[in-house]
Symmetry: C2
Subunit: 295 residues, 2 copies
């Protein structure tokens, strides 16, 4: 048996599967993220349940962050500087994984990138990015089959983007003001327009969606130019807004102008900017896949 765990900022998803079928959980659990002690206790309960008949041979853990995912670091497996009360400087991997059990640790979005590449919208690619535009903006990146990430990076949510001419919102990132996250994450959308992106009034929808799309397309452009992603999977609550995925696709060629790697030189990027393909939690499926890789 293998176990995958995705510790999100608001909820935890756990799943157990056979090592030869990481994408087919045989047991799942889901509970809110509360205090570190309580949450880790419930994860222990899940691991015990998963291993009741067949021993748990490996665990993959994909966590909200910022995390230290550099195996060479003394704080590998820690949640580091999160503002979430009680969760900063927590040795999550060390406290979750029983001594002696092989384990893998990545950020939540990197777990989702692995899940999408192996079992979702990125099947057949070897380089892929998974971006979530939700409460915050996070991006996980796989390059040539290898998940990349270390101590506090990637942090693509804080890229600087060029302002859309119709957008005069100052941005709400406490560090950068109008970086990508400060302009497109859920709280920024609500702060700017007083409504979440899914409930914009019909008459104002297209113009607002175009603003968000221009920023998200710039992120995709930068990530593809830098890391060669063949596809960028766009997830998260904001991306559920009607028309946003389509508008982001429409914005990309106007930015790339036919230049660069194949993913940027196509005239129709509908195969490049895609919705998630793993139905529920790509992060936990990715965590299971990383656990299976250890065996």
């Amino acid at each position: 048996m293998i176990v995958g765990i995705e510790t999100g900022g608001t909820k935890v998803v756990c799943a157990a599967a056979r090592a030869d079928a990481p994408d087919v959980p045989v047991l799942t659990g889901r509970f809110p993220t509360t205090t570190a002690d309580e949450t880790i206790g419930r994860i222990h309960d899940f691991i015990a349940e998963a291993g009741a008949e067949d021993a748990v041979e490996a665990i993959g853990l994909a966590s909200f962050g910022p995390v230290d995912a550099d195996p060479a670091s003394a704080r590998y497996g820690w949640i580091t500087t999160t503002p979430k009360p009680g969760w900063a400087d927590v040795d999550l991997l060390g406290r979750v994984v029983p001594r002696g059990t092989p384990s893998a640790f990545v950020s939540d979005v990197l777990g989702a990138a692995v899940g999408e590449l192996r079992y979702g919208a990125g099947r057949g690619t070897s380089s892929l990015a998974y971006a979530t535009i939700g409460t915050g903006v996070g991006v996980g990146i796989v390059v040539d089959g290898r998940p990349i990430g270390g101590d506090g990076w990637p942090e693509v949510g804080h890229l600087l983007v060029r302002r859309h001419p119709d957008d005069d919102y100052a941005g709400n990132c406490p560090f950068h003001g109008d970086c990508l996250e400060g302009l497109t994450a859920g709280p920024a959308v609500l702060g700017r327009w007083g409504a979440d992106a899914s409930s914009f009034p019909e008459s104002e929808r297209a113009g607002r969606i175009a603003v968000l799309a221009s920023y998200i397309a710039q992120m995709a452009y930068s990530v593809i130019l830098t890391t060669g992603s063949e596809k960028v999977v766009l997830g998260g609550g904001v991306m559920l807004s009607p028309g946003l995925l389509e508008a982001t696709r429409a914005a990309l060629p106007a930015i790339a102008r036919g230049y660069g790697p194949k993913a940027l030189s196509v005239s129709d990027p509908s195969e490049v900017l895609v919705a998630p393909g793993v139905p529920d939690s790509p992060g936990v499926i990715g965590a299971l896949a990383l656990a299976a890789d250890l065996l």
Copy 2:
């Protein structure tokens, strides 16, 4: 004996070394890049000379591009869409390397990144970027010890940057106008100010240097956020302008604002943004290192 070759847009540098000391060439050659046939002929002559006593056991090739550096591609080792007359769609690796000799192929800047990481300003790091701001802008990136790159990427020279308020130059990139390369490469500097960056009049130097620095610092910020580079080595003719490296260092903290991985959260980035440390041609030293890795 191993051979490293850097085919630049204007000149070719060749070097031969013992496999156990790739950074100490025992034979070097240097000639202009002319036609593909003539240039490849002179490379063959160098390889023959290098192997006159001890056989050439491996060859590393770092080339101007765009190149296809994806080993899984049918055109691996090719120069692809270059505007340089006679050099588009040339199977450079196939024509340079004798059949049966192990070989490695990367872009010129990726070769330089490897050279700097192993033997130059990046010693001790495992993730590093090398950027050249010269006739064009190119960036090579090593992540966790692995050079990354494929068919037409990375292409970080074409990142979109935010305009400096004192800069109204339209930019000269034929694709993007005012992307990084269109604003900071040598031809853009000359087009905007009528002088190269090393010869700005004293009275106007600081203001002009600050404009260039703001763009180059944005590139470093994006690359570090995305790929976790511990250092960004800044080379190329434009970077030789007095004060530009220092001004770029000064610009970085104002962009990063203390957020992100260690390389961005330091208050003094003089250890992060650095000049090249390989005295002459980091690209050819990197090519030698990659050749040595094959044995």
